[in-house]
Amino acid sequence: MIQENKINYFVTKIVTHAPNIKTIYLECRDGTGKAYTPVFRAGQFINVYFPETGTPEGKAYSISSAPHEDILAITVKAVGEFSNKLHQLKVGDRLTASMPYGYFYTETETSELVMIAGGISIAPFRSMILDSLQKKPNRKLALFHSSRTYDESIFRDEFAVLEKRFPNLKVFRYVTRDKVANVGIIHERLKIEDIIGTTDKAKLDIHTREFLICGSINFVGELWKGLRKAGVPEDVIYTESFFSH
């Protein structure tokens, strides 16, 4: 039961992407005080514990850094008591969390990947994209990200640079609430047809493509049903969702 293992992490850096979105960099220290990064796979999460908030089971946050970066970072949006506590952390603070855990990844190395993220759930996909580009630079990847505001459409600059360098990576950013038009943003709701239908933007190989969806329960559920209805077999869809309360 990997989740049961609680270890101490220490905050080494904090980066602010938007007023309520931060990436918190963490490291562990061994018995001699030497810093190390726990081993993880792209797509995994750590379970953070703040028992004083009345949640003994803790909350899961996806790792947004890639394994080869040799750091463990989580990207957090402050929405409630728990996530605000994470936002209040300072460099040097200690944090209790589990070892990296989770099964949100594909073991198939030859597939083309369609990644669909809702809001802050873009976090594990940053890890996956960087990891994939590092291991298999030619693998076709498409990311659909739907957020409510432009501010929440994070990692813009970083991904733009990657898209230029790797033409096999395509990123489609949807912003649903902002009315002001921004360059490179699609100001409408993400439709299933854009992923797999009449207006398919990614245009990946239908025989090898796999889908990874991460977001709220409703977001993931609706997309899963949509993909299934469009004929996508169950065993090429991976999902990750967290009930937020």
């Binding site: 899963w224 169950e234 969702s241």
Partner: protein
């Protein structure tokens, strides 16, 4: 005088699909709760090929899953379990065990692709706040498979 034609409001017959906002459970969830399939009543002498344990008493959900795999190391022939948790947790593990073993049993690689969404669909829906019950069901099976693979590494 012509009587105006009444518009018929045709309702789709609801097979007691769970209202995800509400307390009510679907008939299928109730069935798997009151008549759970594949429980392992006595694990003292059972020899499994892989065991997965997820959750904890503190969380209110804990599952143990035991799997047996065929000689070729491909298909799940048995998937037994025990669950501490609410009706959703019990029904999720039961349904997951049925999915893993029906029609001659899933291949390991197919079983790794079971998602909470597919378990929930088979259950005709679960309340949103019970979503994690099916996540645990999926994780328990994955851990059991991982345990098996660790002890039976493939020849690549």
């Amino acid at each position: 005088m012509k009587t105006p034609s009444k518009k018929k409001i045709i309702k789709k017959s609801s097979v007691n699909v769970c209202d995800v906002q509400d307390w009510l459970y679907s008939d299928i969830v109730k069935d798997h709760f009151f008549n759970p399939r594949n429980i392992l009543l006595n694990d003292a002498d059972y020899v499994a090929d892989g065991i997965g344990i997820v959750g904890s008493p503190a969380c209110g959900d804990m599952m143990v899953v035991w799997i047996k795999v065929d000689e070729k190391g491909e298909k799940i022939t048995e998937c037994k379990w025990r669950t501490f948790g609410c009706a959703s947790a019990i029904a999720s593990t039961s349904m997951m065990s049925v999915m893993a073993t029906e029609s001659g049993g899933m291949t390991l690689s197919r079983a790794k692709h079971i998602t909470p969404e597919s378990i929930i669909e088979r259950l005709s829906g679960l309340p949103d706040r019970k979503y994690h019950c099916s996540v645990l069901g999926q994780s328990a099976l994955r851990e059991a498979i991982e345990d098996y693979e660790k002890n039976n590494p493939h020849e690549k």
